[in-house]
C-alpha cells in the first residue's frame, strides 16, 4: 500500500484550485489541447488554413468598409496592418470564449464519468486556439514584408500580451462554461456579447477616436490592453501605458475570479449537466 491517502467528502465555500492536483494531471492537459487542435479542422478541405483565413478576410473587409468607405484612420501604420494587428488577438479571444464556454456541455460524457481537474476542459479549448494565433502571426509577418514595415525591439514584449489575452479569454471562459452547465442561456448570449465587444474594443478604430469621458470603458475592457499592446509591439505605434496597465490588471483579476467561481460551481457539474 502506498502512503497515498485521499479523503473524499463534502466541499463547501470558496477555494482556489488545487495546484497539486493540476500538476499531477498536467500530461492530460497537454493531451486535451492536442485533441482539440487535432479535431478542429478534421474533415475540412482547407484544414489549418482556416486559422489564417478568418482574420485575413476580416482584415480585407474592414479595410474596405471602415478605411475606404467610412474614412477611419490609424495611428501611423497602413490600415490593413493596423486592422490585422488588432484582429489577430480579437479573433483568438472571440473564438476562445465561444469554444470554452461550450466546452463543458460539449464534453458531458467526460464530466459525468471520469474525474480529473475540470478546469482543464475550458482552458484546453483556449490553449488550443493559441496555435491559430501563432499561425495568424505568421501571416502578419508576410504582411509586414509586403508593406515594408519594420519591426522594432518592442516585439519581444509580445508574449506578455499573448499571456494577457489567454488570461482574459480563460477567465471569461471558466465563468461562462460553468454557468452554461446550469443555464443554457449562455450559448445564445455569447455570440451577441462578442459582437458588442468588438465595438468597445479599439480593433477597428484608433484610441484617439474615443472621447475622454468614455475612456474608462477601454480601461476596464481586458481586450483593449491586449489589442493596444499587440499594436505597440508589432507596429510600434504609441499608446497610453496607463490604459494598457489598467486593462491588463483586469485580465489578471478576471482569471483569478474565474478560477474561484469555477472551483465553487464544479462540485455540482456531474449532478446537473
Amino acid at each position: 500500500m502506498s502512503s497515498y491517502e485521499l479523503v473524499i467528502k463534502t466541499r463547501t465555500g470558496w477555494h482556489l484550485i488545487d495546484f497539486r492536483e493540476v500538476t499531477r494531471y498536467r500530461e492530460l492537459f497537454a493531451f486535451l489541447v492536442w485533441r482539440d487542435i487535432k479535431v478542429r479542422y478534421r474533415q475540412t478541405l482547407l484544414g489549418g488554413l482556416w486559422a489564417v483565413l478568418q482574420p485575413l478576410i476580416a482584415m480585407i473587409v474592414f479595410t474596405i468598409i471602415f478605411h475606404r468607405l467610412a474614412g477611419v484612420g490609424t495611428d501611423g501604420a497602413p490600415y490593413p496592418l493596423f486592422a490585422f494587428a488588432g484582429l489577430a488577438p480579437w479573433t483568438f479571444f472571440s473564438a476562445s470564449v465561444t469554444q470554452s464556454s461550450n466546452s463543458l456541455i460539449g464534453n458531458q460524457n467526460l464530466v459525468s464519468k471520469i474525474y480529473f481537474p475540470r478546469l482543464f476542459i475550458p482552458l484546453a479549448a483556449v490553449s488550443a486556439l493559441l496555435m491559430d494565433l501563432l499561425l495568424s502571426l505568421g501571416i502578419f509577418s508576410v504582411l509586414l514584408i509586403w508593406y515594408h514595415w519594420r519591426l522594432t525591439a518592442a516585439v519581444f514584449f509580445l508574449p506578455i500580451f499573448i499571456v494577457a489575452a489567454f488570461l482574459a479569454a480563460g477567465g471569461i471562459g471558466l465563468v461562462l462554461s460553468a454557468l452554461n452547465v446550469n443555464f443554457r442561456d449562455v450559448k445564445y448570449a455569447v455570440p451577441f456579447l462578442i459582437q458588442m465587444g468588438l465595438f468597445v474594443t479599439p480593433v477597428i478604430y484608433p484610441v484617439r477616436y474615443v472621447p475622454k469621458r468614455w475612456m474608462w470603458i477601454l480601461a476596464v475592457n481586458p481586450m483593449s490592453g491586449v489589442v493596444l499592446g499587440f499594436r505597440r509591439c508589432l507596429l510600434g505605434t504609441g499608446e497610453s501605458w496607463q490604459l494598457v496597465a489598467s486593462s491588463l490588471t483586469v485580465c489578471l483579476l478576471l482569471f483569478i475570479v474565474g478560477l474561484f467561481v469555477f472551483g465553487r460551481m464544479e462540485r455540482r457539474f456531474a449532478d446537473i449537466i
Partner: protein, 441 residues
C-alpha cells in the same frame, strides 16, 4: 492493517424537480427573488417550494481490505452508481466520507473520452491519459493494448468508422492496461461477444491475483460469485447485506423473490411503472399474461403455452411499431427474447390510437425458476419505451418429457428423440446381426 477503502456514514442527497432539469436563467432569478419572501414567512424549507429531495445513498459504512475483490450488487436505483460516482470523485457526497489509501482508476463506462474523429492510435493515447496513465506508460504498453484489442490494421482509421465491437474492444484494451492499486469496474462485461467477455474476465482475474483491489459492480450474479470473495448488497441507498459473495447473492435473490410476490398479478400496469427506463416516452399501457387454457396466469409449467397481450398507444402515425419481450433470469442474464419483428408479414405501419399486440408462445421451455420480464416498444426501429422489470413469471416443474424425469439445472428444455443405430464396429464384429433401437413412440 488499515483498509484500502474506508466508507463512513456516506450519503448523497439529490433534489428532484428543478435540479434534475436545467433551470433557465429567468427561472433562476425568480427563484432567487422569491427566496427572501420565503425566509420572512418562515418558509425557507426547501420541501415547501415543491422541490423533493431524496437520498440516493445513506448511512453507508463498510471497509474493503487491500487485495480483495469485492462485489456490489443491488437492483436498479439501489445506489450502486451513486456509490461509484462518489468513490471515483465525479460527484461530492452530501455527508460522510470515503478514504482511499491507494491510487485508483475507474471504468465507469469503457470508451469514455474516445473522440470519434480521432484514429484508433490517437484514441489510445487520449483515453489512456484520461484514465490516468502517463505518456511513457502508454508508450510502453502500446503494443500490448493493440494486441489485446485485435484492431491491428485499423489502427490509423478514425474510430467513427469502427464497428461497435471493435470500438468496445479497443476501449476495454486501454482500460485493461491500467495499473492502479484500486480498480473500480462497472458492468463492462455486458458488452462484446462471448470470446471477448472471457478475455475480459481473464484480465480481471489477473488484476485480482496480482494483489490489487477490485470493486466490481454488476447485475450478473454468476460473475460476482465467480470473481469476488465478498460482496455488499445495496437496497434503496442503504447497506442491506455484507458478507461472502455466495451469501450476498443468496440474500439478493431471496429479496428479489419476495418482492416478486408483491406484484404478481396477471395484469400489469405499465403506464405508471416506476421501472420505466430513463428517457422513455410512455407508450406502453398494460400487459396481460394468460396460461395454456386462456386462463389468467398465476404460474406456468414447463412446456405450457403462454399468451401475452400488450396494450399500447401511438401518439403519431408511424412507419413501423414493434414490441419486444425479454426474459431475464434472476442472475440478470437475458435467456430469451420474443419480438414482434420475428413475425413475418405483420402489418407494421400504423395510425395513432390504442393498439393491442398479442404474443403466443406455444411452448415455454425455460427451466423452473423466476424470470423477470422486460417489455419495450420499438417505433420506426428505435427503442422508444422500455419498462425494465415489468413483471415476473414463475415456471414450475412438470413432466415435460413424459418420463417422470425432471430436467437438471440447465437453462431450458427442448424436445428430443433418442434411438440406437447399428455402430460400424459392431457391424463388423457380429455381421448378420442387426442391433435395432427404437425411439419412444
Amino acid at each position: 492493517m488499515q483498509p484500502i477503502i474506508e466508507i463512513r456514514n456516506l450519503g448523497k442527497e439529490y433534489q428532484l424537480g428543478t435540479a434534475f432539469r436545467t433551470e433557465n436563467f429567468r427561472e433562476f432569478l425568480l427563484r432567487k427573488a422569491r427566496q427572501p419572501w420565503n425566509g420572512l414567512r418562515g418558509r425557507e424549507n426547501p420541501h415547501a417550494s415543491g422541490k423533493e429531495r431524496f437520498w440516493a445513498l445513506r448511512h453507508l459504512e463498510f471497509d474493503v481490505p487491500e487485495g480483495e475483490c469485492i462485489g456490489v450488487i443491488g437492483r436498479n436505483g439501489a445506489g450502486k452508481s451513486t456509490l461509484l460516482k462518489i468513490i471515483s470523485r465525479i460527484t461530492d457526497p452530501s455527508e460522510g466520507h470515503v478514504k482511499l489509501r491507494g491510487r485508483f482508476a475507474s471504468l465507469l463506462e469503457v470508451g469514455t473520452g474516445f473522440h470519434s474523429e480521432l484514429t484508433g492510435r490517437e484514441n489510445i493515447f487520449l483515453n489512456g491519459a484520461i484514465l490516468g496513465m502517463r505518456r511513457s506508460e502508454i508508450l510502453a504498453k502500446f503494443d500490448g493494448i493493440v494486441a489485446f484489442s485485435e484492431v491491428g490494421k485499423f489502427l490509423d482509421t478514425p474510430v467513427k468508422r469502427y464497428s461497435s465491437g471493435m470500438y468496445v474492444r479497443l476501449a476495454f484494451a486501454v482500460a485493461a492496461h491500467l495499473n492502479p492499486e484500486i480498480l473500480v469496474v462497472d458492468e463492462v462485461l455486458a458488452v462484446g461477444d462471448i470470446a471477448f467477455q472471457k478475455k475480459c474476465l481473464g484480465k480481471m482475474n489477473e488484476v485480482r491475483q496480482s494483489g490489487r483491489t477490485v470493486l466490481f459492480v454488476s447485475h450478473n450474479m454468476a460473475t460476482v460469485e465467480n470473481l469476488c470473495q465478498h460482496a455488499v448488497v445495496l437496497e434503496q441507498g442503504q447497506l442491506s447485506f455484507l458478507g461472502t459473495a455466495k451469501e450476498a447473492v443468496q440474500h439478493y435473490l431471496k429479496r428479489q423473490a419476495t418482492s416478486a410476490g408483491e406484484n404478481k398479478s396477471h395484469i400489469v400496469n405499465l403506464k405508471d411503472s416506476p421501472r420505466r427506463g430513463h428517457g422513455s416516452s410512455p407508450l406502453l399501457d398494460k400487459a396481460e399474461f394468460y396460461g395454456p387454457g386462456g386462463e389468467p396466469l398465476s404460474c406456468l409449467q414447463i412446456g405450457d403455452a403462454l399468451k401475452i397481450r400488450i396494450h399500447l398507444h401511438l401518439d403519431n402515425p408511424v412507419e413501423s411499431f414493434d414490441v419486444g419481450i425479454g426474459f431475464f433470469s434472476l442472475y440478470g442474464q437475458r435467456v430469451f427474447t420474443a419480438h414482434s419483428r420475428f413475425e413475418p408479414d405483420r402489418p407494421r405501419k400504423a395510425e395513432p390510437g390504442p393498439k393491442v399486440l398479442v404474443c403466443d408462445i406455444p411452448s415455454f421451455t425455460l427451466v423452473p425458476g423466476d424470470y423477470i420480464v422486460g417489455i419495450w416498444a420499438d417505433i420506426n426501429g428505435v427503442m422508444t419505451d422500455l419498462v425494465e422489470e415489468a413483471a415476473r413469471i414463475t415456471v414450475v416443474e412438470s413432466d415435460y418429457y413424459g418420463t417422470g424425469k425432471a430436467p437438471w439445472n440447465d437453462v431450458m428444455v427442448m424436445k428430443q428423440r433418442w434411438h440406437t443405430e447399428t455402430a460400424p464396429d459392431e457391424l463388423r464384429v457380429s455381421s448378420g446381426c442387426t442391433a435395432s433401437g427404437a425411439g419412444p413412440g
